[in-house]
Symmetry: C2
Subunit: 223 residues, 2 copies
DNA sequence: TCACTAATGTACGAACCAGTACGTTAGCTA
DNA sequence: TAGCTAACGTACTGGTTCGTACATTAGTGA
């Protein structure tokens, strides 16, 4: 047996000093802590205490609290982008493809509540950390490319009546998925309904798909 | 002339000590400050400095930072409820009524970004302050009652094909309106598009209405 | 007009918290 | 194996921040 807490690749002995591991461990804990308490609510001392290293290392590797939060955001957004890159709807017709994309987005939001919280927190800070990050500026969105291709095919085949912009459709899908997770608590407290109740999951997932398809295939009544 | 900064009802002389005015002034400033910086980011000293009174009064009237934030939320939610009570769509047919309701919701979110921020902040804190407030627990939602009545009429007249729950439709409308304002900054930074750009306002407003109507009037293709 | 209380102001303290000065050691390389 | 440096730990500080003890006064009712 090589180690209890580290799975580690075989042949790679557990070292006392491991920059990559220490850095990753700090990021893991910092992600939880920032997501839990917000930027100002998070405590650098608390983050350090929950790692196997000390506060000194946070400043050694990241420079400060601000940069740590930026690094947390970079990694979180990177994970989303990687997941989006694995979306494959090429074999589906436009209607099925859009529904599938909506479902993947729905699932992803549900499975990453910490990410949702981080994004909410970053919006309170008016995206200053994203602005400060070079990495995040040129990250792009694979999901948007997928939407663009599906919409083009849908318009060509005449299945979609609406001449919809890809970014707008992304807003439509994301807003529903995001709100359900981000506003779970106030909504639950005020309306007595848990939007993330597992028993309601399939219902809301289908509702999202129905909504998007209805919008894309509806006859537009010109005002 | 009675006073420069207080419009005041005639005959009511400007007093040096005015509990109601002091309380209201603290709430005004606190609302701005909490919305700007979040709960933990807001500073009691800063709030006090921006009023005509002192920090002592915040503790005198509200008890502490937590209770001040709760009072801010209570007033903000109260304003929304009052606005919702003024919604009048009784004279419209169900389709027009739902679109009108969506537009009112859309306008209200756009006009109250501070409220959106406060709700986002309260969600980061898992609605603990709402839970601590008796007032907010029994506030209700006039908008929800309006939706209920419209849906019932729509189903009766056969205009709406979908058997939709009122709360669910409220989620659908709110999520779009909320996201557009709450995620304005991260969305803008990542996609280079300002969702609250005045030039796009009519476009998104119509898009929301189209979406909701399409959903309510679409033929459901059973899976 | 006199006393009483609600309303207000000042000054301060104790805890907290981001960040750092300084010292130490594991592990690699020549 | 000697020496070098990246990686790490300890202990501290200076400023901040919520909250309060204590003193004071405006307005009101008897």
């Amino acid at each position: 047996m090589t180690s209890v807490e580290e799975p580690a690749r075989p042949g790679e002995r557990e070292r006392i000093r491991d920059a990559a591991r220490t850095r990753a461990e700090i990021l893991d804990v910092a992600t939880q802590e920032f997501a839990r308490a917000g930027y100002d609510g998070a405590r650098v001392d608390d983050i350090a205490a929950r790692t196997r290293t000390t506060k000194r290392m946070i400043y050694y590797y990241f420079g400060g609290k601000e940069q740590l939060f930026t690094a947390v955001l970079e990694r979180a957004y990177g994970a989303i982008r990687d997941a989006e890159q694995r979306i494959d709807v090429e074999h589906l017709d436009p209607v099925a493809a859009i529904r599938r994309l909506a479902e993947v987005t729905f699932d992803h939001h549900e499975q990453h509540p910490d990410f949702i919280r981080l994004v909410s927190i970053e919006n309170i800070h008016e995206a200053h950390h994203i602005a400060a990050s070079e990495k995040l500026g040129r990250m792009g969105s694979p999901a948007l490319d997928v939407i663009r291709r599906i919409l083009e095919e849908g318009r060509r085949s005449g299945l979609f009546t609406a001449d919809v912009d890809a970014v707008d459709l992304h807003v439509m899908i994301s807003s529903f998925c995001f709100f359900r997770v981000s506003n779970r608590y106030t909504f639950g407290a005020l309306f007595g309904r848990d939007l993330v109740d597992p028993a309601q999951r399939a219902h809301y997932r289908a509702m999202l798909g129905d909504m998007v398809i209805a919008y894309l295939t509806a006859e537009r009544t010109a005002g």
